[in-house]
Amino acid sequence: MPDQAQKNRPATPGGGGGGEGPGSPKVDKPNVDDLLKRMRKVDPDQAKRYRQRTGQ
């Protein structure tokens, strides 16, 4: 099976994410504007309803 091609993606200039805690990237970041729109559709209570049983 052939090796997967690794690609270095172009980075777009951008600042940090802001907010408190560790979530403030200080390096170039990709353009994820479309993905942020996808994130807005995530139900804020989705995880509250998510219940699983212990596995291995």
Partner: protein, 502 residues
């Protein structure tokens, strides 16, 4: 990676359904596995030769610890009018993989692989097979079935992504268990999948970010258990190979990675460290003074200093420990193989980037990619750090849905370094790795599936006109022997033609 160390992964998946509270996840898991449309052999897995009570330290435990919370489900489980085989619903696929209901989760086990390229292709193939099942089931039941390749429900119920490494039995267990401990505790700095919660067994503790999903759930140094009081080093002794020659090192401490780069780095570095130990078992590696405490403190350190005490009382940190293992690999392993050399280069680069600015790794490592993405979203939406929405976004990072999953969104936006081409994962959905015994299992399923009566990692039984033919895979690891077996199965027109392999 042309090494004697072969590997595979077994990943338990979380399952939920829209507008369905109090979901019976066991029933859902069974239904999901049964919705598989991929050709394969159903309910023929041979459990008779499994023994999860056997311990590498030379004894058998009487019983395995079960999670205490599981007792609450006893009555529900006892009422199921299904046989053991029906509950498990094992499916052996034509690509050599195993897909089944492992108690309360759909579990996809990759076939045995000898290269990392094979492994990440088959890991993604498993994701695609699971996605197809979710779509079939959604169409059937009329509400959206959601699958998550993660390790927790944020309420203290964890499920695993285990790795398996085939090692020579000649590597002494005590040396292996002692020497690998610090590596397994510290590799989370690049292999962690990230989590927006602090948990304990069976309970949510608080909000907050940590770099690994599983580090909240380990409380023993070594044991055979996997469901409760999980150990850093699992001692299960089920080689699924000739027990006189091989041992299977069963690693239960890893996170389920969405990033193929992280999977490749996690398994590639672990295989190399094990190769170094097999080559020189007496070499000295860092010894942690407080391995269990360090496991949690590394995961929860929001300054990313990852400090830890060594047994020598010398202060150190996870990066220094990892560099010590990297040095051993560079000194002892044969790195003439291009894939191995590439893993070493990526490992060193990741450690250097983590040392200078961990956020440089947002294009490779799950925990960094998740943290940065959600930090961007927090800033744009002005979300507080204790907002439960963060856990929902965390969950959606792991969603197995190309159109909705956040990790896949990152990959599609070009933000991640290593992307797997669709044709590569499609090939892996239907064809086993050519370099391992999985090719024999997969081809027998493809050609003679209707006649297969029993299957296990180390054998397959096919009914012929003259009786059952049991093909042993116990010792099938030498490349030239795998080629010979493959040629024979390729040429066989009937099950009787396989008699020569007995």
């Amino acid at each position: 990676m042309t090494t004697a160390i072969q590997f595979g992964m077994e990943t338990e998946i979380g399952i939920s359904r829209d507008s369905q509270e109090d979901l019976d996840v066991v029933a859902e898991s069974i239904a999901l596995v049964r919705s598989a449309a991929e050709p394969g052999v159903w309910m023929c897995w041979d459990y008779a030769e499994e023994d999860p009570h056997a311990d590498m330290r030379g004894f058998r435990v009487k019983e395995l610890r079960q999670d205490t919370d599981e007792a609450n489900y006893y009555a529900q489980d006892a009422e199921r009018e299904l046989s053991f085989q029906e509950i498990k619903s094992d499916l052996v696929l034509g690509n050599g993989a195993r897909f089944y209901n492992d108690h309360a989760h759909p579990e996809y086990c990759t076939p045995e692989c000898s290269t990392l390229a094979e492994l990440i292709a088959h890991d993604r193939a498993g994701e695609r097979i699971l996605m197809a099942c979710a779509q079939h089931m959604t169409d059937e039941v009329g509400s959206q079935v959601r699958l998550y390749k993660n390790n927790t429900d944020f309420m203290g119920h964890s499920y695993g992504c285990h790795e398996n490494y085939l090692l020579p039995r000649s590597l002494p267990w005590d040396a292996l268990a002692q020497n690998v401990q610090a590596f397994l505790v510290t590799r989370q700095i690049f292999a962690g999948a990230g989590k927006f919660a602090i948990e304990d067994e069976d309970r949510f503790v608080s909000h907050g970010f940590q770099i690994a999903q599983r580090s909240d759930f380990f409380s023993e140094l070594q044991s055979v258990d996997t469901m409760q009081r999980r150990p850093i080093v699992n001692t299960r002794d089920e080689p699924h190979a000739n027990p006189k020659l091989f041992r299977r090192f069963h690693v239960i401490i890893g996170d389920a990675n969405m990033s193929p780069f992280a999977t490749r780095l996690k398994v590639g570095t672990t295989a190399l460290v094990l190769e170094a130990m097999a080559r020189e078992p007496k070499r000295k590696y860092p010894t942690l003074a407080e391995p269990l405490e360090s496991l949690r403190s590394i995961s929860r350190d929001l300054n990313f200093k990852w400090e830890l005490p060594l047994k020598s009382n010398k202060p150190s940190n996870a990066l220094e420990v990892q560099f010590a293992y990297l040095d051993a690999v560079k000194t002892l392993c044969d790195l003439s193989n291009a894939e191995k050399a590439s893993v070493v280069a990526d490992w060193e680069e990741a450690l250097n980037d983590l040392a200078t600015d961990p956020m440089k790794c947002r294009d490779r490592l799950d925990w960094v990619a998740k943290l940065c993405l959600i930090a961007d979203f927090r800033a744009a939406q002005n979300i507080a750090e204790d907002d439960p929405w963060l856990r929902s976004l965390d969950l959606e990072y792991h969603r197995l849905d190309f159109a909705e999953g956040l990790y896949y969104g990152l990959e599609q936006s070009g933000a991640m370094r290593l992307a797997i081409a669709d044709e590569i994962s499609a090939e892996a959905m239907h064809h086993p790795p050519k370099t391992t015994r999985a090719s024999i299992r997969g081809k027998c399923v493809q050609k003679f599936g209707a006649a297969v009566t029993s299957a296990q990692w180390d054998h397959i039984v096919i009914q012929s006109a003259r009786g059952p033919i049991k093909i042993s895979l116990l010792d099938l690891f030498a490349p030239e022997q795998i080629l010979r077996y493959n040629a024979h199965v390729d040429a066989a027109r009937t099950p009787e033609d396989l008699q020569a392999l007995v």
